[in-house]
């Protein structure tokens, strides 16, 4: 199915998506949006892993994507549990309010 696509296109696409995620982490204050931008960055890396797996005709890259997905799922589960507990105590998930760990 692949015709006329070079690996450079996937390099550029992954770079752009990764940087959109990085800008989101820097520019937003809502902690849940920051989590979603981290997911976006992980997905950019996953896409590049699959592209190189296809390029080298090697399944290891795709298996690595499985592990990245498992780690991302674990991270999201624990992170959202922490966030909901913080929201219960502080009534906010604004990173500027959460800056001090005193309360």
């Amino acid at each position: 199915m692949i015709n006329g696509i070079s690996i450079n296109m996937y390099l550029m696409l992954s770079t752009v998506i990764f940087i959109i995620g990085a800008i989101g982490v820097m520019a937003r204050r809502n902690t849940i949006i920051i989590f979603m931008c981290i997911e976006l960055m992980l997905n950019a890396v996953n896409l590049l892993l699959v592209a190189f797996s296809t390029l080298h005709n090697d399944g290891s890259g795709q298996v690595f994507v499985f592990f990245v997905m498992a780690v991302a799922a674990a991270e999201v589960a624990v992170g959202l549990a922490i966030l909901s507990m913080i929201y219960r105590n502080v009534k906010s998930i604004d990173t500027d309010i959460l800056g001090n760990l005193k309360n």
Binding site: S6, I7, I33, A77
Partner: protein, 170 residues
């Protein structure tokens, strides 16, 4: 069609949509809209997996990300009752700084990657590698130990999420 193959058209449209939806995730004011745009981004990335002959991974990606993780995000956002009015906004100056830093990073990475060799994927493309049979062979022969470790990690995350999310820890 205009000198491009059908795969190039599919790639271009999917890339454009993925980048647009990713931008909407970052710039939309309402967190619920952000989640929905992120789901659309994941669908575009699953389309890319299909183009790359990673069929099984595309299905798993939709099931895990769009099906499980995003539903978790939506639950939490709706439990916290977040909407446009409660959305905290950074000051304009820090948004500009974030944009400039991201732009510089983009400039550096594109500049570095621009000079790399143009290798066509078609001369290596092989339709068998993304199927369950081959992936299972690799996963359970070469990566058996990491697979077991991941199961322990998921168990630890399960216990941790329940412990943290409990109402009162005595």
């Amino acid at each position: 069609m205009l000198g491009y193959t059908i795969t190039q058209w599919v790639f271009g449209i999917l890339s454009f949509l993925a980048i647009m939806f990713a931008l909407m995730v970052v710039f939309s004011r309402n967190p619920v809209n952000s989640v929905l745009y992120l789901v659309l981004t994941f669908f575009c990335i699953a389309g890319h997996y299909l183009v790359l002959n990673a069929q099984f991974l595309a299905v798993v990606h939709i099931a895990v990300y769009a099906g499980a993780i995003m539903v978790l995000f939506l639950f939490v956002i709706m439990l916290m009752n977040l909407n446009q009015d409660t959305e905290p906004q950074k000051t304009t100056i820090s948004k500009i700084i974030a944009g400039v830093i991201g732009g510089m990073l983009l400039l550096v990475l594109v500049g570095v990657l621009k000079g790399t060799e143009q290798i066509q994927l078609s001369q290596y493309g092989h339709s068998e590698i993304g199927l369950v049979k081959n992936l299972g062979n690799v996963l359970f022969k070469e990566f058996l130990f990491p697979f077991e470790i991941v199961s322990v990690l998921l168990l630890a995350a399960l216990v941790g999420a329940i412990m943290i999310g409990k109402k009162e820890i005595k």
